[in-house]
Symmetry: C2
Subunit: 594 residues, 2 copies
Amino acid sequence: MRTHKCGELNKHHSGQAVELFGWVHRRRDHGGVIFIDLRDRTGLVQVVFDPDSPETFAVAESARSEYVLSIKGLIRDRPAGTVNPNMHSGEIEVLAARIEILNESETPPFPVESDIEVNEELRLRYRYIDLRRTAMQEKMKIRRDVTRTLRNFLDDNEFFEIETPYLTKATPEGARDYIVPSRTHENAFFALPQSPQLYKQMLMIAGMDRYYQVVRCFRDEDLRADRQPEFTQLDIETSFMDENEIMTIMEEMIRQLFAKVINVKLDAKFPRLTFQESMSRFGVDRPDLRILLELVDIAEEMKAVDFKVFSGPANDPDGRVVALRLPRGSDLSRKDIDDLTKFVSIYGAKGLAYIKVNDRQAGMDGLQSPILKFAPDAIWMKVLAKTNAQTGDLIFFGADKANVVNEAMGALRVKLGHDFNLLEGEWKPVWVVDFPMFDWDEKSQRYNAIHHPFTAPSCSDEALVANPGAALSRAYDLVLNGTEVGGGSIRINRTAMQQTVFNILGIGEEEAEEKFGFLLEALKYGAPPHGGLAFGLDRLVMLMTGSASIRDVIAFPKTQSAACPLVNAPALVTDEQLRELGIRLIKPAGKEKV
Amino acid sequence: MRTHKCGELNKHHSGQAVELFGWVHRRRDHGGVIFIDLRDRTGLVQVVFDPDSPETFAVAESARSEYVLSIKGLIRDRPAGTVNPNMHSGEIEVLAARIEILNESETPPFPVESDIEVNEELRLRYRYIDLRRTAMQEKMKIRRDVTRTLRNFLDDNEFFEIETPYLTKATPEGARDYIVPSRTHENAFFALPQSPQLYKQMLMIAGMDRYYQVVRCFRDEDLRADRQPEFTQLDIETSFMDENEIMTIMEEMIRQLFAKVINVKLDAKFPRLTFQESMSRFGVDRPDLRILLELVDIAEEMKAVDFKVFSGPANDPDGRVVALRLPRGSDLSRKDIDDLTKFVSIYGAKGLAYIKVNDRQAGMDGLQSPILKFAPDAIWMKVLAKTNAQTGDLIFFGADKANVVNEAMGALRVKLGHDFNLLEGEWKPVWVVDFPMFDWDEKSQRYNAIHHPFTAPSCSDEALVANPGAALSRAYDLVLNGTEVGGGSIRINRTAMQQTVFNILGIGEEEAEEKFGFLLEALKYGAPPHGGLAFGLDRLVMLMTGSASIRDVIAFPKTQSAACPLVNAPALVTDEQLRELGIRLIKPAGKEKV
């Protein structure tokens, strides 16, 4: 058994005999001496092989990159001038007395050094090589620290970790289910859970009081930018707490997490924004508060102007007109503005009007824009005042249906914030609250639940039925630097209210009974007031490690096409397996290997 | 927010104002006063409603069993003579000043009291009621304590918790896979893991050094006595440790677990038994060492006797002849012995010979048995000496093929041990080691792996090839009171050895490449010596809580027919879902609800 790990060694070990295990990170032959940087999970240490011990030297000479070695030797200070300040063990080295090659290695498909860029498909196919890189080891370490810190907090606060089934029944969370054929129940399928939502509600009804689980969730989605078919959630539910109490304890958990794992001090109290204020000021319900720019509503001002592009949306109840001031933006070139116009068009904006404020003191003469003529001077002066425009600024405008303006100008805000470095602070958490219960889907002519159908409204049954579109929910999302890292709500705990919500969502009695009969029944037997939330663990670790993708913080992620190039999954199965399960392929002809 | 939990209150809180939440466990009206036992996760407290506060009294009067209440009141000592010593809070009571009914309850389908027996199907269908029972709450609490204690030990010993995929590829662990159709890869399926075996080996090759995971595993087995389609494993793997080091650290973990969670002191060092010794003395490879009985081999003695029932197996290399002494068993009746004969016949034994030792000093005259005539007196005297028979004992005999004798007499040993209370000690852990690598399957005329194909042999490549049947593995099982609670091995870390084992198992080159190509490849890139094990968490918690079934320590288990009566899973899915997945039912006619 080893006496030490490589990366732990330092000056204090000088003179000690050690036994180490590790990989050949690098081998250099220099001045008749062999140097091997030996690597284990903790880091590197330099091992020196002297030609005076010919047997040891000969073995060292045969060692190649990524060979696995066992080394016995003596720690000594490095000679003056050869200290490596970039290495934790850089003041010492190991003079080898014995070396054993525990296993050999072919030349790896790519170098283990972290700073060499490698194609991601190749990294995933040889994930066991990729994970040897220091950067990946560090991410895995932080992930385990994150999980451990969260668990400890919850354990210490009397949350019970309780496991819920993976072979379960479909519940509608907005995505497709992965389903699992059952051999013992003809034509029946399990579903893999999109979340343990209903089980955790059952646990509250069972009197478990406070529950949590680090749990895998499954969604068979069309894989957008950074989604995974399976992802990990920190799932939490409590009884007898209202939304304020839940948000308070949860933000304390997140504060401790950041302090303990990455030594970051977050706000003593996270700000709370209503959904409406967030949409109004930032165009999104997950605002990045580091960005100093804000949207300013100017519909009031534009209602009467003789410029349909502005007055149309200003007078449309579904429309919106906003200004977005870019400080020191007046020197943007024609091409810069064209590029930004192209950018907002991705989000459906039909153009991007602007005014350059060349001289704020000079009144209209200080302004430069093709749209000045479309409205009276007084209006523009009001807009300048409302946006607090200064000499040298540039003001952009968005006018369209509210959702188009929000998406386009919200995205423009983020882009300008990053491009012009208009950011303040490193970590900006914010709770978004007072979401609407439902949004109206024009196409299907019915309401959708903004969160999920088990979310409690903050109004009475009667008010809910009278005007579902105006009802707010008791939901809350935690947003960090523009990314939603967690979200939850107080749940409905009365059968009648739950049925009312199903009705509004157009879920008929029979469908409700078939899908949620057990919930409606359970609510009859003393369901306590309860609520909770879930954090996206992958996303949280991604942010905390500064990673570009959640794939970088998952040991064995799937590719964007939902496959694993390491084990080569998914794969074909035998006809016999299918027959046992009572299913067959629709197109068995396409039977080539995937 | 509440000030206290119900079960926490005691004499020290006397005089304090409290606010509590909980369920009506029991309501009694006595002498014009209402008493409600209020229940939460921590236990019960008695709340008293005085008719002097008519408003509060009226609400209390309307409260029924399992109503959810909020109570404000004052803690006071119970009047002399009404103290309840069986209740943690039995010295005090709460004089209610305010009561609010947070939710009502219909009469539950069965009482929440723990000591009332309820049909298991009903318990599972209303699991949220069942889990309210004190006994179930206690099991869930111990389960969380077990998991937490194990995690803390492993965290403190530098094991990294790392998650591995659930959507993966089939690996042969001896059971059927659950498979998951893929929508994005035509005709391809994921498999749910039977264990993360190959992923944890990949993590070792990736240099993660020490890994663990509390992980769900899936096996689509014919559900025997106490199996679940999904179960939880504590999965562990380390690099650079041999089997002794692994067993040493793991038994330290189990010792701490028992000490911390159930206050049990296990042996300072767990005994180790070879597979061969275990089979020889106990007939099984998971012996219950609490039982004081042992099998004694008497084949040598019986080789030459003129009694084919004994001499046949004694001269058969696959046969076995044993004696099993039952102390103070000589007064067993004819009927007792007939019943035991029936019992061993379940395991294939064709009879159950016996000798009653009525008087050990009297030589042959002191013995009573129909078989005495079949062998010379000297032989019987040798048998008496070898089994250490005393006056008043009874000796049973088993003679047949070794596997029949082992199963029948091993089971008889356990039965007699329990029936006659011949047990010593409460907890008897034991490591079983030196398993054979393979057993020969007569039917398919090939070798099977006793553990799994990645287990390292303790001999060289050459010895393995020369005589696979004689090779021992570097595997180890942890057995507790006759139940296998964990098992593992040192793994093969060289491509050549892994290929040799595949060859012996009759896995051809093409099949090996298709199923395990990634493993064979990974072993080429510096795979360290590594090994590990897995503990069955459900089984461990079952033993520690004294539960009769693992279903009792799983919050939402499946029934014996692999269904969940709570959510009603598995269930039918729509044709559209199947179409998207490229599959259809073989017998869509059987389309009635399951």
